[in-house]
Amino acid sequence: MGRLSVDLCGIEIDNPVIPASGTFGFGYEFAEIYDINCLGTFSFKGTTKDPRFGNPTPRIAECSSGMLNAVGLQNPGVEKVIEEELPKLKEVFHKPVMANISGFSVDDYVYTSEKLDKEEQVGWLEINISCPNVHGGGMSFGTDPEAAASVMKAVKEVTTKPVIAKLTPNVTDIVSMAKACVDAGADAISLINTMLGMRIDLKTRKPLLANTTGGLSGPAIFPVALRMVYQVAQAVDVPIIGMGGVSSAEDVLEMMMAGATAVQVGAANLVDPMACPKIIEALPEAMDRYGIETLKEI
C-alpha cells in the first residue's frame, strides 16, 4: 500500500506499470535481466485457441518515434501455454499475471478464456479485440460495438476473474466501443492497441512488411492514446488501463491524469529492456516534482 500502489479491479498492484502483451513474452527473457517481480503485473503474449506461427517476415519496420509490427499473434496455443509456459512463468514471477487472449470467433474467445480463467496465477483476462495484423479476426471485433459486446458477454459468462476489453484506436468513435464493452460486462478497458500503418521500401517500391500493413507503436502514438483514454474516462465508470507510447515516469503520470488507473508499456521494452524498472524507479521523484503524494489521488 505504498505511494505507487493502485487497485485494478479489486486486485491491489504495487505500482501501475504493466508491460504490454506482445512485448514481454511470458516474462523469461526479461527475468534474465532483472527481477520482474518489481512490476505491477504484466500482460503475457497474446494467446489463441490454436497454435499460430503468425505472419511471414519481415514483421518489423522503423518509423519516426516508433515502429511497425505485423507479428500476427505468434503463440503456441492455449493448451501449450498452460502446460509449458505458465509453469515456467511461475518460477520467475510471483504475482497475479494478466492473460491476453485473442480469437477469430466468439467461440474461440470463450474457449481460451474459460481455460485461462481456471489458472491460479491469472489475475485478469485481457480480451484483445484489436489486433490489426490478423485477417478475419481480432480487429474486426474491435471496430463494431455489437460484435465487441457479443465477445465480452460470452467471455463473462464462462469466467470468474476480471475481464478487460483491449480496444483498437482504428475507429471513428472510441467511446461507443468502450461503452458497448462495459455494458456487456467488461470490468475494465485497456487502450490503445497499435495504429494501422505502413512503410514502403524505396528500393523495391514494395511494402517493407510482408503483411503490407502493421501496427504503429511508440511515442508517435502517445497523443492519440492520451486523447482516447481521456474520452473514454469521461464516459465509463470502470478502470482504464492506458497505453500507447508510454516511455517515462512522466508519461505514466500524464496517462493517469487523463483518467487511467494503470498504464501499460509496450514498444519501450523492446528498445530498452530495462524500460519498466527504470520507469518504476523514476516515479517517486517525478511525483514529488508535481506534488503528487500517492498515485491513487490522481
Binding site: G22, T23, F24, G25, E29, F30, E32, I33, K45, F53, G54, P56, T57, P58, R59, I60, A61, E62, C63, S64, S65, G66, M67, N69, V71, Q74, G218, A267, N269, L270, V271, D272, P273, M274
Partner: protein, 244 residues
Amino acid sequence: MQDLRLTIKENRQLTDKMWKMVLCHPDLAVQKPGQFINLKIDGYFLRRPISVCDYAPGEVTIIYAVVGKGTKVLSEMQIGETVQALTGLGNGYDISEAGEKPLLLGGGAGVPPMYLLAKQLRAEGKMVTVILGFNTKSEIYYDEEFYKIGCRVILATADGSLGAKGFVTDVMPEDYSYIYTCGPEPMLKAVYKKAETSGQFSFEERMGCGFGACMGCSCKTITGYKRICKDGPVLRKEEILWED
C-alpha cells in the same frame, strides 16, 4: 546480455559501403563468434543489430554497412564519443563441431563474423579455409586479416575482377570437415545445397528487440519456430527449413 555505454576507439571506412568500428567498455563480454550487438543511435527508434567481427576482453570490433540514415549517423561518430549497446546477443557459432579442416564461407556483409570464428578455430590448431565472396574487387575487405591469422584464403568475385570469377560455392575445396557460413540468403541456400558435411548457417532478419521478446524475427525450422535474434542467428544445417 549486457546494456553498456561503449566508447568509440576507432571508426573508419573500409570500402564504399563498409565501415569498421572498435568499441570499448571494461565490462564488455562476448561469449561466442557469430553473436551480435544492438546499437542505439540517437534520433532513431529501433536499435541496429551488427555482428561481432573481433573481440578481446573489454573491446569489440564490428564492421557495418552504411545502408540508411541510421548507419550514416553511426559512420559520422567520432573517436571518444559513446554509444549505448546491448551486447552478447544471439547464440553464436559452436566451434566444438569444427573437426580438423573447417570451411568458412562469408559473403559481402556476412564476412565479419567469420573473422572471430576463424581466430578461435586457429587458436585450437585447426586448418582453416576461408572463402570470401564479393561482387567486385573494390568491395573486398578484411582478406588480409584472415591471411595474418594463418587461414587459407580463397577469394571469389561475381565479376571476376579479383580472385576466382563466381560465387563462393564455385570455389569450394574437396576436403573439409565442417561448414560455417554467413551471407545473403541466396548464398546460404547455395552453400546448403552443395555442402557435403554438416554445418552452421547464420541468418539475417529485420529485428524488433534483438533479445527474444517481440517475435519480430521468427522463422520456421525442422525443430519448430525459432527467433533469429535469440535462438539464432546461427542455425544448424539439419534444422533449416527453406520457405519457397
